[in-house]
Amino acid sequence: MKIKNIIVSYFVGLLFSVGLSISGMLQPQKVIGFLNLFYNWDPSLILVMIGAIAVHSSYYFFIKPKFSAPLFTDSFQVPNRSDITSSLIIGASIFGIGWGLGGYCPGPALTSVANFSLNPFIFLGAMLVGMALYRKVQNRLPFTK
């Protein structure tokens, strides 16, 4: 990747966290409030997803097909797998349990470090350990990747 790709990447990260802040998704109680489907439900998260998916899917189906390559690199790198594996299901389940417990997913956790409070630091540290742990044990797990 070239300098221009790195600049784009930096700008995308910046825009992403501004969106997270405006959307309210940096507040774990709002995420937990969405997952609390049967008591005092907070629909915010679904509206965040609807807004993001409306923009991304419009691009993906109406604009992207007109381009044979991205503007700043040679090819689009879009995952094309469609197999439902045990790792996908078990991994998503483990993620969902942690998400429900803490109210943070990776993006908000990283962005919330800017608040300089203890919990996001603890969460981020533990999350990085969890990622390293999976990389360490992945080949010893009996699940199809």
Partner: protein, 142 residues
């Protein structure tokens, strides 16, 4: 009631901004803006595939600092979670997102947008597991 409506409008606007961010990543760099994958890949220094990840993370942090000044209430944590719960949650989120090849951004936004079967399944599973966990926790601590 009005405050609630504002929150919902902000959620939609924030979502549109997040959508734009993921579109820019795809249109210029040809990449999925999947945050767990970007972070996980940053652990391994591969020439040509490392700097963009680190700068994406710097971008997230810069945006966080800007919004800490512009919109500090957006960081309010009223979850009342103990440090121990947070640590366990972080471990599970790290392990689970890498094992399941994605999180809310990669599967939930980018994947669903292109109607990826894997992402639709993963998103249904992680939201269901989240609902189960929150409901159980609420029931146990009541």
């Amino acid at each position: 009631m009005i405050a609630m409506n504002n929150e919902l409008v902000n959620a939609l606007i924030g979502g549109v901004i997040i959508g734009l961010a993921t579109v820019i990543m795809m249109h210029f760099n040809g990449r999925i803006a999947g945050i767990s994958g970007i972070i996980n890949g940053a652990f391994k220094i591969v020439p040509g595939d490392w700097a963009w990840r680190i700068f994406f993370i710097f971008g997230l942090l810069t945006g966080g600092l800007l919004m800490k000044i512009a919109n500090p209430e957006s960081f309010n944590d009223k979850s009342g979670n103990s440090t121990l719960i947070i640590a366990v949650a972080g471990l599970l989120v790290g392990f689970g997102t890498i094992m399941g090849n994605g999180c809310t951004s990669g599967h939930g936004v980018c994947g669903i947008s292109r109607l990826s079967k894997r992402s639709i399944v993963a998103t249904i599973v992680f939201i269901s597991a989240g609902v189960f966990t929150v409901t159980l926790k609420q029931w146990l601590t009541r």
